[in-house]
Assembly symmetry: C2
């Protein structure tokens, strides 16, 4: 059980990839990603979930929400996601990442990159308002809020699009898992 061959078999049983969940606040990025993470862990896979709050606390706490700062935020995250992906970790990245150019740069740096557009209409997300952020944004308490006072540039050719206003979480999760299987990232 302590032979190096175990590792070589492992290299075949999982291939590193970044699952890049993009979408406006409340679209369901984290909800879907957490469930995908859970399913993959149950199968014994190595999975790393990178989420906005944790990353901004540890890696980018010097940054705000201007375009320049958002770009630098995504740039640092991309570097970390690339390291994990290179080491055959399935890396779940949940970031609004509103700018097309920044997502494109992430794709180029990471290589094995699956763009997942978590798509729900603004009014649906605003009605959900899980964190109460839309109310604050409408009241002018949060400047540069994506969808309200800051732009969101939808993906033009995402590998996966999840319509979370019309499909249930389980359907979205199945779509992602199925994609990983078809593309050979997992058996």
């Amino acid at each position: 059980m302590w032979e190096a061959v175990d590792i070589k078999q492992h290299r075949r049983s999982q291939k590193g990839v970044a699952l890049w969940f993009t979408g406006i606040s409340g679209s369901g990025k984290t909800t879907v990603a957490l469930e995908v993470e859970k399913r993959l862990r149950e199968e014994g896979h190595y999975v790393q979930h990178l989420d906005g709050d944790v990353v901004r606390q540890h890696l980018t706490r010097d940054l705000g929400f201007s375009r320049k700062d958002r770009d630098e935020n995504i740039r640092r995250i991309s570097f970390v996601a690339a390291l994990l992906t290179q080491n055959d970790i399935i890396t779940l990245c949940c970031f609004i990442s509103p700018y097309r150019a920044a997502r494109q740069a992430a794709r180029e740096l990471i290589g094995e990159f699956v763009e997942i557009y978590v798509n729900a209409p603004l009014d649906v997300c605003e009605k959900r308002d899980v964190k109460g952020l839309y109310a604050q944004a409408r009241a002018g308490k949060i400047p540069e809020f994506t969808g309200i006072s800051d732009p969101y540039e939808p993906p033009e050719n995402p590998e996966i699009e999840l319509k979370t206003d019309t499909e249930c979480v389980n359907e979205s999760v199945q779509t992602v898992i199925q994609y990983l299987k078809v593309k050979g990232y997992i058996p």
Copy 2:
């Protein structure tokens, strides 16, 4: 060959750990680490090498060499090293990391942490001066240069100490590999 059990066997064949090489410029951190990396790769292990130049380019290019900036540099690196280590990657970190408190914080965050004091006297390192940095520092062209105009706080209880002025690279590498085996990080 495509069964999840492969991964579970892999989990047993390699345990994540951060090998934290600390020492002044020219002490031999990178020389030893690159050779350790090579040996581990030959055995089929997952290894990630984090080095000063690459990290400062991608993760911390906003930072300088003041104590505050050095601390933030190490803090961000520690977060990344923790992610990799948690995923059972052997992570080689080569950073002068002159301050004891910053290394201690890294240890606490990462958990599986092996402090490797790459120890060569200043005059030996200055004579080597591979990158020509000491000459520049002596000429006053580099402010806050560790060992010259900025302090280096040696580890008090490093897991490993390598005396690179009296031992050859191969001996240093053997010491590190042997430690990994004895502690069960690799078979």
